[in-house]
């Protein structure tokens, strides 16, 4: 706190202070703009862990709500984070595991497959939108695409529940409807955030890869059949 006083009256107090050569002088001299940030750092360091976790969880939950009701708001873009996408990706990959296969070694690659598809697909869509002249940043775009997988994850969970019922035609129709609806929702939600950052006549060029991306994921969900 002495340093804070020092910064408000620079060099004023130094004229009458004599420091002997063998006493080490410690601490930082910060510029006037600095102190508020340092206060923040100290305050988040000292708070209990539960508060930190809850704050992050609240931010993630807030973004989930924004995906559920996709309005043209910038909340998703302003404070981006990748916790939500990671959570959703891992959940979806775990749910898609244990799919139908002739051999047992299919379940291993499937987790990696889904993971790689989601992350590399998002990276490629982001690169594409940047190359087309988008104003959105790399991680913001990853954040949006990841969060908009949520409807598909919910559809996957629903499909797994529906597949417990042995009737094949009805369950297929129900799954088709659910997956199609969630695919449309995901695409619509992500374009609500992404398309704004593009020049107006090129929106279709950005929307198509997003459509393809969610289509591939929706297709993987629809063709999933659990091992007997």
């Amino acid at each position: 706190m002495a340093a804070a006083d020092e910064s408000s009256r620079p060099f004023a107090g130094l004229s009458d202070v004599s420091i002997s050569g063998d006493i080490p002088v410690e601490g930082d001299i910060s510029v006037p703009v600095g102190p508020s940030r340092r206060d923040d750092e100290f305050s988040t360091l000292d708070e209990p862990v539960k508060e930190t976790i809850l704050r992050d969880l609240r931010a993630v939950g807030n973004k989930f709500i924004h995906v559920l009701y996709p309005k043209r708001s910038s909340a998703l873009l302003r404070d981006w984070d990748l916790w939500g996408p990671l959570l959703l990706c891992v959940t979806l990959a775990l749910l898609l595991q244990g799919g139908a296969a002739k051999g047992d070694d299919q379940s291993g690659p499937q987790f990696a497959e889904v993971f790689v598809i989601i992350w590399f697909g998002s990276i490629i869509i982001t690169l594409n939108s940047k190359l087309l002249g988008g104003t959105i940043s790399f991680f913001q775009s990853l954040c949006v695409l990841g969060y908009c997988i949520m409807p598909l994850t919910v559809a996957m969970a629903t499909c797994r529940i529906v597949l417990l019922v042995p009737n094949s035609l009805v369950s297929f129709v129900v799954r088709l409807v659910v997956v199609t609806a969630s695919f449309g929702w995901s695409t619509f939600a992500s374009t609500a955030f992404l398309a704004d950052s593009q020049p107006p006549n090129r929106k279709a060029l950005v929307v198509y890869p997003v459509f393809l991306f969610y289509f591939v994921i929706a297709w993987m969900i629809l063709t999933f059949t659990p091992t007997q």
Binding site: D22, P24, A101, K102, G103, D105, Q106, P109, Q110, A112, E113, V116, I117, I124, L127, N128, K130, L131, L132, G133, N201, R202, A204, L205, Y208, P209, L212, F215, V216, W219, T223
Partner: protein, 336 residues
């Protein structure tokens, strides 16, 4: 940047090192791309040289720290070592950061691709349709669009369609994944065949650039996408052959006329266009039959006990689709 790096000329090899090229490449990204052929940062000589330089920097920094350690005395011997350690670590960190930022600026500079993505949706749509319409003009070089957005999207669409085909035919891939195989096939075809055609056209001195071959071949995949989308869902061989000839043929003709208009001489034209048409048509044939149910039993019986990485498992095929020879082969596969 060049001046600063030039002062650290600590190369020890008698023949000089790649140092100069690395320094010169500190300018724009276009120049850098030329130099990467010589100094790909992953070659052993470069890595060894980097380590050598970093070690020498460490030693230099250690010596420098050792000679001016008066202010560390009051902290005792531990303080001295701690200071030395800190300084060394700092130097190593700076050197590493410099290398990493240089590599990053070199490889992650996507702005060099930006002009190739400068298209409008209307243009993409018209190019897609034009890829199936051969032009009549072969005495004058045809205009080939040099863009990468359309071809890239078409390759990804083909990957998606291929995935669909693999899933519906129940292909089982033992080593590797479905997605990896689909991506590898499509991207491999697009990149390798474009490079090969560019190489051939370079040999016969045809007026076509790498970007144009990439673009031409990419748009040629539109026909493939259409055919496969239809025939993976409607399994009629006759329909497939008709579509293969008509749509595949049209897109091949379009590419062939474009190349013909830019090549001089009978033999070069024959070579280029023959290669392109054969590869293009055979690829469509391969894509259709590789993931088709009937061929699985045949392949299984042919390959025998040696399992290939892409192992197709025999399935129960309805009898009406097999003739007697196939049936006997299928029985052989089943009894194994």
């Amino acid at each position: 940047m060049s001046a600063g790096s030039g002062s650290r000329n600590t190369n020890t090899e008698p023949w000089g090192s790649f140092d100069d090229n690395l320094i010169q490449g500190g300018g724009s990204a276009v120049i850098d791309m030329e130099n990467t052929d010589d100094t790909s940062g992953s070659s052993f000589e470069d890595m060894g040289e980097m380590h050598q330089r970093m070690k020498e920097e460490e030693e230099v920094a250690a010596e420098a720290a050792a000679t001016e350690d008066d202010d560390g005395e009051f902290l005792g011997m531990k303080g001295l070592k701690g200071q030395l350690g800190r300084q060394v670590a700092d130097e190593v960190w700076q050197a590493g950061k410099r290398q990493a930022s240089r590599a990053f600026n070199l490889y992650a500079n996507i702005d060099i691709l930006r002009p190739y993505f400068d298209v409008e949706p209307v243009q993409v749509r018209s190019r897609l349709i034009e890829s199936l319409i051969p032009a009549r003009m072969i005495n004058f070089p045809q205009k080939i669009a040099g863009e990468l957005y359309g071809p890239l999207m078409l390759v990804f669409t083909l990957v998606a369609i291929l995935l669909h085909g693999m899933k519906t035919s129940g292909t089982v891939i033992r080593e590797g994944t479905l997605m990896g195989t689909a991506i590898g096939t499509c991207f491999g075809y697009w990149l390798c065949v474009s490079s090969f055609i560019y190489f051939l056209s370079y040999l016969v001195n045809a007026q076509i650039t790498m970007l144009q071959t990439l673009s031409l071949l990419g748009y040629g995949l539109f026909g493939h996408c259409v055919v496969l989308l239809v025939t993976y869902n409607i399994h009629f061989h006759f329909l497939f052959y008709v579509l293969w000839l008509v749509i595949g043929g049209l897109s091949t003709l379009r590419m062939v006329t474009a190349i013909l208009s830019r090549t001089v001489g009978q033999t070069p034209r024959l070579l280029l266009c023959g290669t392109l048409s054969v590869l293009h048509m055979l690829f469509l044939l391969y894509l259709h039959f590789a993931y088709h149910r009937i061929v699985e039993g045949l392949l299984d019986s042919l390959e025998g006990p040696n399992l290939s990485p892409i192992q197709r498992v025999a399935r129960d095929v309805p009898e009406v689709m097999l003739n007697t020879t196939m049936r006997s082969l299928g029985n052989m596969a089943k009894t194994r």
